[in-house]
Symmetry: C3
Subunit: 403 residues, 3 copies
């Protein structure tokens, strides 16, 4: 499927040159929301991620550290991102340590500020996933960041570790950047994405509490590359308004388009890329956060019943063959962060039909395969003072070892 | 005890030469059941394991990887094998990551096929223990293997990771291979094992659900080296018939012997090696699997009572001093995969008397000490394209560093 | 605050020279209680820890191992020490593996002796925290040590791993040594500590079961450096008498002082350093241990009520501004192993007022920052045959890389 396009894909040397031409300013800083960083930085991340992936494919190490820790803090279950972070850290030469809050003394009065410093003495990177509570995750990461800045300025920490957002309530940058890196490879370049129509739509799911950060991450990133981004969802299933407004402004600035509708069909019509995925309405996530914090089990049960009943009204929001036939050439690229709710496979009625998912199963795996390299790229850019020189050193060494 | 025999043990250089003369075909393949591999491969595994052990003893690293992950999936409790896998991976230069199925999203609809790929992007080896459900473990490993082959052929995975079986319902190859490597060292060579009498017998234990894979692993491996393998157990405590039949065929082909009896005394008579160990009858494991899958707690309690009552009829199946006095020279080598149920130490009545176990305690530790090196050897053979050349490079470097 | 004093702090080269002049005898031994080691060894530990910290600050690796495991056994919750051990091991080049006793088979009859060997085949260091049961932790560590010695003498283990005490019922050496290393840097040298007055006092806390090992560790170490050590606590809140007696003897031998009183004011008067920290009376820990072992939930609840009621009589044992005003120049150095119970921050009434703690928050972080380097130093001294030569090699390499 990608044969002709792959010849357009940059070689390692071309990627290296392109990367060295891009300026970044991430040294010892955090990477929390993609829209807080200039476009050049985003280009640098995906270009570097692709280069590191090519190096790995060629069996060449891109290790940068002799020692040093990468710490993971997962406040929510995860398989993919947990292994992506572990793989990325190991490939960079960092040792992995997990802050398991059930084994720690955090419940016994340690403050976030203190813990952040206590785990950071020999730490280079801290990966955090905190997406269960609306209004909390991103705030927590900034609080940790402030603690690290404070500790470093006071000489307690020799180097300020960098935080990599592994998903918060607002954005899921490692996912959206992996998606962008995949599209860059699939369509040949970021320039080729200009004008491409991408449908980021809601889809039916038998579960009700999926986070907003994936669709918000997609509209928050793809609008920066001149794409025609179409957000679609049933009435009442909106995302955070500030993020939606920002997506519109970004699209305008990039010479692209951004629209919001209540029609899956409209979004799919003529689309080049479709990304149908379930999420809970913003207002539901607000109420759920409140109840989770109050341990209101009765309220949560009621909320779940109400939401599932509401979801059920939109069971037709499914990525079926008929839906795919509306897309450009009837063969838009189907994307999903996985795991998908597949009709008749993982559930009775889901986000996508079994037949459509099976057609695009391998492309979704290719999409996922970029995540560890994106995370390595973020580690690289936040910890290496001169990333261009370092990457050149790695590429030269790889080339000499291949002879 | 092993003084005279140790002089027959090959030096590192002799081991290296012997290893280089053996051909293997394991590159990027899995190692699930020992009997699926040619005899030459088995010889290569134990020869390499012994060499790596000698290198470690000499304080020399045999690291092969700069980066890369070794993933462990334990669907059952473990101390020994968990640490053996971790030690083996670390010695090879791989980082360890554990797939904790309680922390993952597997319960939320991820398929085995998807998970296998999602954890494999920068993974070299996957170690799996799945031995609780009869008919499940080996099947699961093959399913994972198929997923890895599929992902690699589709270009999703740059290199196909290799699966190492850390115990399934059928075989326990890292245990039986460690046992064979230990016997090779203890008796001086694999050739010296020809004609040696080994009693693989059932023994009484106050617990009822121990897996069949250890005795099956032993009869499935030792019959290939011309030994006189005597399987003994009370009536009704048989192993999987296919494995028993295969053991007989292997013994015939190797010029050895294989017999099955209901007499521990008969098996111990004149034996050079004894391996008394408890296991649950095949039929009991079948019923237990059914009930575990149906969460039939009442049925499991009844089954346990029934089995313990049946076991109790054979309390005399204990490795006592009187039993040991039947063996060759009254000093056969006692073996156990550990932990053993020791009469008056870990339980009231067990598999072995305290006095006999204490005499052979250190030999069982020597036996166990081969497991991490066997696992390193399996990693080496499945990931290194030219293992003979690589081992030579390591040995030469070790020798130059020792000067 | 430390500006003038820092000019007195030894450079890396001065630290190296000082370290090389000190003799140690820790090769392949354990480090359990500081008072079991000569003063020269203690000086070597803190001098080496400071050097390793300076190397890390300069961005230079002090890795000593290509491969090898560091195993952690935590029988109690921990954040700080868990990450300190992980950081320390990683910086030395060791891979970390945790013995999670819930995932192991220890409950199924494995003996301590067997487990110690089974996890040690490729292990260099074992870090153990076992402080919940009075009379148990130190005993357990010695039992593990004996098992390692036995296994090594029998040739089962190629090298005897070393145990590092990460806190037991008697001592907390990594904490007291980190405290000493911090004081050495803060005051410029160990010689400058002679005659310094340190108040190791009890303080009120709303929890009742904190271990004795921190105050015991402090009086057991600081009395060796000629300091004026003042232990103070309410009547009935004494430490283990043997440790108290030993502290007195050590103070006399070192030309310092050691006193015990029931007055926090008296201890604070003119003090240069204060270390107010809660602990449960020795007799309470004895009763608690008994009940914990018998799973006597009713008894534990009664004991807790009794203890909290007794503690409440001494709520005035709080490190307030008024208390600090009694110290030398009203600005003694406040120390705490963290986390502290801070009045109006982590609890209603605690060990220290919010205002005092905030003034010394950063110094307590500096104090904590020495722990990973102290642990690395203990690993270095127990695993490297010629530590002086090895450190020189590392420093030279660091200096050449900095050019």
């Amino acid at each position: 499927m990608t044969a002709g396009i792959e010849t357009q894909r940059a070689t390692i040397t071309e990627n290296l040159k392109a990367f060295q031409a891009l300026k970044t300013d991430l040294f010892h800083k955090d990477f929390l929301l993609t829209w807080d960083h200039p476009e050049e930085t985003i280009r640098a991340v995906v270009t570097l991620a692709d280069t590191l992936k090519q190096l790995h494919k060629a069996g060449q190490s891109y290790r940068c550290f002799d020692t040093g820790l990468a710490i993971s803090i997962f406040r929510d279950n995860s398989t993919r991102t947990r292994f992506s972070f572990a793989s990325a850290a190991n490939a960079m030469g960092l040792g992995l340590s997990d802050l398991d809050e059930t084994k720690s003394q955090i419940a016994h009065g340690e403050t976030v500020r203190e813990t952040a410093n206590m785990i950071s003495f020999l730490t280079e990177v801290i990966g955090i996933r905190d997406d269960m509570f609306l209004g909390e995750g991103h705030t927590y990461m900034k609080e940790v960041g402030d603690a690290l800045t404070d500790g470093t300025s006071q000489g307690v920490l020799h180097r300020r570790p960098s935080i990599v957002n592994l998903q918060c309530d607002v954005d899921h940058p490692t996912q959206s950047l992996a998606d962008l890196a995949w599209l860059r490879q699939h369509f040949g370049s970021l320039e080729n994405l200009k004008g491409k129509k991408i449908a980021m739509t809601w889809a039916y799911s038998p579960s009700y509490g999926k986070p907003l950060s994936v669709p918000q991450g997609i509209i928050g990133l793809m609008t920066r590359f001149g794409m025609d981004v179409r957000l679609a969802h049933p009435e009442g299933y909106g995302l955070i308004q500030d993020v939606v407004d920002m997506a519109g402004r970004q699209a305008q600035a990039a010479g692209g388009r951004f629209s919001v509708s209540n029609s899956m069909e409209e979004a799919f019509d003529g689309a080049d890329i479709v990304y149908p995925k379930s999420w809970a309405p913003f207002q539901v996530m607000e109420r759920r956060t409140e109840m989770l914090k109050n341990a209101d089990k009765e309220g949560l049960r009621e909320l779940e019943k109400e939401c599932l009943a509401n979801n059920a009204r939109y069971q037709n929001w499914e990525c079926t063959r008929a839906m795919m036939d509306r897309t450009s050439g009837k063969k838009a690229l189907y994307m999903h962060c996985l795991p998908a709710d597949i009709t008749d496979v993982s559930c009775k009625a889901g986000e996508v039909s079994a037949e459509v998912f099976e057609q695009y199963r391998i492309p979704t795996y290719h999409e996922a395969s970029y995540k560890p390299f994106v995370i390595s790229a973020l580690m690289f850019l936040t910890r290496i003072k001169d990333p261009g020189a370092k990457l050149e050193q790695i590429v030269r060494r790889a080339q000499s070892l291949s002879l």
